[in-house]
Subunit: 373 residues, 2 copies
DNA sequence: TGTCGTCATGGTAGCGCTCACAAAGAAGAA
DNA sequence: TTCTTCTTTGTGAGCGCTACCATGACGACA
């Protein structure tokens, strides 16, 4: 059996240093054959384990020559640090809970990718918790402390829930809100400038030649809705276009609401030549309504969305939309929270950061110049 | 400063055992105030730390009375095991890579939830890796071993890629395929019975009274496509319905292909009264085509999908579809892989399991009886 | 009655790493 | 030259837990 051989070999290796016959009855060193350790690297590089640790981590106070020796040794052995040992020794346990309301929300997978990548990088533990809206928040917060959660990541729409935010603040948990329209004073926040994005998109449509641009608003209780609406309004004003209230229809971010809103907009006379919806689901609904009315998109009607969700790439034609770097925002939020947790355990005052990240506009097939007629 | 006070208190606690004056200059015990440890629980319960460990883990060889004492102590202190210490001491490092081709695939978030939950439960580390189809698989596998990956989780469509499977098998990595139509002999596989599910859905439509049921196939290179098609065929045969080849249209799982296929199907005379698409994106496309032709769904045309993806709940009407318990499959796959990794490190022969999990049909608003005409 | 298993429990060491501190050397000030 | 500082490197302990044995108690069998 090769496995037996391996164990014996390891035993032989360790028997040497043990030396004295008294210890020879000694236990064999656990079940062996795991990867190289700092000690192995240190031996090869001719330095102490501590120096190796310093090279891996802070990189400060190490002579370039020493550092290079260590780096070479690491590369030679294919050394990978043992996260478990590191966090045990470092004593920096950091559990971050990701609260979500809806397990199949489109942005969630991207969100998870980002925070997961960062968490494994800095050796934080990510805990994903479903947040049932019926459950009282006190109970939820209790559950979190039961799990020894150190910080909380809040994607939309949870990031806009005042009761939840209040409960978390009362519990003294560091919080990061992602893609909220109104960051709380006590929380980290990662946002794009929704107003500016909507302004840019509307301006883009105006630049294409559109003069009658319909707008479908988001849900009234989500803070980004007002910002997106404001951007649309400002762009019209900047271009000196008249503001026709019939060109703004109320939506609530659902496809169904988009269907109703788009139907209302397309019933206007004269018809708008473009519709800008506050999210992609509603934009997709607008495309469906247009097609039902035998209008071609984009030849007869341009449609733009917001969020760059899967929907915008799934339907045909693919929708021009505003892309938020969700994964990157989640990554940054995770890093900020871990920083706060560690500062706090070092009894330093933790500061709160509100970060604006850049959005981009994804130009796809759903917009074009207005029809000539 | 309360922090200082805490440290001093901890110091005092530790000074006792240290005893000799020589050691009194001794370091204080790191920066303290982390949660209770096995030692604390053991002290309170009046047993040894080892017994506490046994209660937490295997529960074997512990007298019920002892177990209860320990459990009470755990509850009193609010003890939570330290995962880092556990995996360090247990020596059971287990890294599982989740390979995916498309970061925004609809099922991915659910998939992640499931495997993440299981991974944190059994203290395995989940690594998410983007798998660029252009990258040669040798390089990918090399990257995986570089990260010290012990096992690989393969969601669709990667689970059907023969070259990738071959490369992983050659590298000796345990693999779990999720939702594949043709499990590899060397890999774990978690599947539903696609053929049976398609049969059940088709039979459901027949039961509703439909006699002309259109079918949109999946991509030819994915193994589930044939199974779903076979289920449709068998249901027709079971019901003694004639098999009209014009009622089967080729799709490739994209919305766009669904648009084309549905258009072809609805051009048949007499028109089918129902369309069963091999996934939800194509079913959504069929709904769009129907609406464009001023057909009501489900009054004029019933539409059913497969996968229960976000799309099926987003559009209107919501689509009746086959639900795969993706999260649960991911959970089981993760558990199987961890088991294999641990058996293997214990030099036991690891066996491969092919598990069939139950699907359910989600009845929603897109199907009904055929029109009377 | 003595010997042997079997079961519940305890003792000890060590997983791989990093902390606090010590030591050694180099550079600057007196 | 000697003392002080700073910088780089090393030492020893311990993070919290579990693997591996040892031990003692108890009943079964000869």
């Amino acid at each position: 059996m090769p496995a037996d051989r391996l164990v014996s070999a390891a035993h032989a290796l360790y028997a040497g240093p043990m030396g004295t016959t008294e210890n020879m009855r000694g236990r064999r060193p656990r079940l062996g054959a795991r990867g190289p350790t700092v000690a192995d690297v240190a031996r090869l590089a001719g330095v102490s384990p501590m120096t190796v640790s310093r090279v891996i981590n802070t990189e400060t106070s190490v002579l370039p020559a020493t550092r290079d020796k260590v780096r070479t040794a690491i590369a030679t052995l294919g050394y990978v640090p043992n996260l478990a040992a590191r966090s045990l020794a470092g004593g920096q346990q950091c559990r971050i809970a990701l609260l979500h309301a809806n397990p199949s929300a489109a942005y969630l997978s991207e969100f998870l990718m980002g925070s997961l990548a960062q968490a494994s990088l800095i050796d934080a533990q990510l805990i994903v918790e479903q947040c049932d809206p019926l459950e009282p928040y006190q109970a939820l917060v209790g559950r979190l402390s039961g799990h020894r959660v150190d910080a909380v990541l809040l994607p939309p729409p949870l990031c806009d829930d005042p009761a939840l935010l209040a409960a978390l603040e009362a519990a003294g948990l560091p919080v990061a809100q992602i893609a909220t329209g109104r960051p709380a004073a006590f929380a980290h926040a990662l946002t794009i400038d929704d107003e500016e994005a909507a302004h840019r998109m509307t301006t883009h449509l105006i630049g294409r030649g559109h003069r009658r641009i319909g707008f479908i608003t988001g849900a009234a209780n989500q803070t980004v809705s007002a910002a997106r609406r404001a951007g649309y309004d400002r762009a019209l004003a900047d271009a000196g276009l008249p503001h026709d209230p019939r060109l703004v229809a109320q939506g609530d971010f659902t496809y169904r609401s988009g269907l109703l809103a788009a139907t209302a907009l397309l019933a206007c006379v004269p018809r708008p030549t473009a519709i800008f919806a506050s999210n992609d689901d509603m934009a997709a609904a607008a495309v469906a309504v247009a097609h039902r009315g035998h209008l071609d998109v984009p030849a007869d009607l341009s449609v733009c969305g917001f969020d760059d969700s899967a929907m915008s790439r799934t339907i045909w034609p693919e929708i021009t939309t505003v892309h938020q770097p969700i994964a990157d925002m989640a990554r940054q939020a995770t890093a900020l929270l871990a920083g706060t947790v560690r500062e706090r355990s070092a009894a330093r005052e933790a500061s709160v950061r509100h970060v604006r990240v850049a959005f981009t506009i994804r130009h796809r097939a759903s917009d074009g110049p207005p029809p000539l007629d």
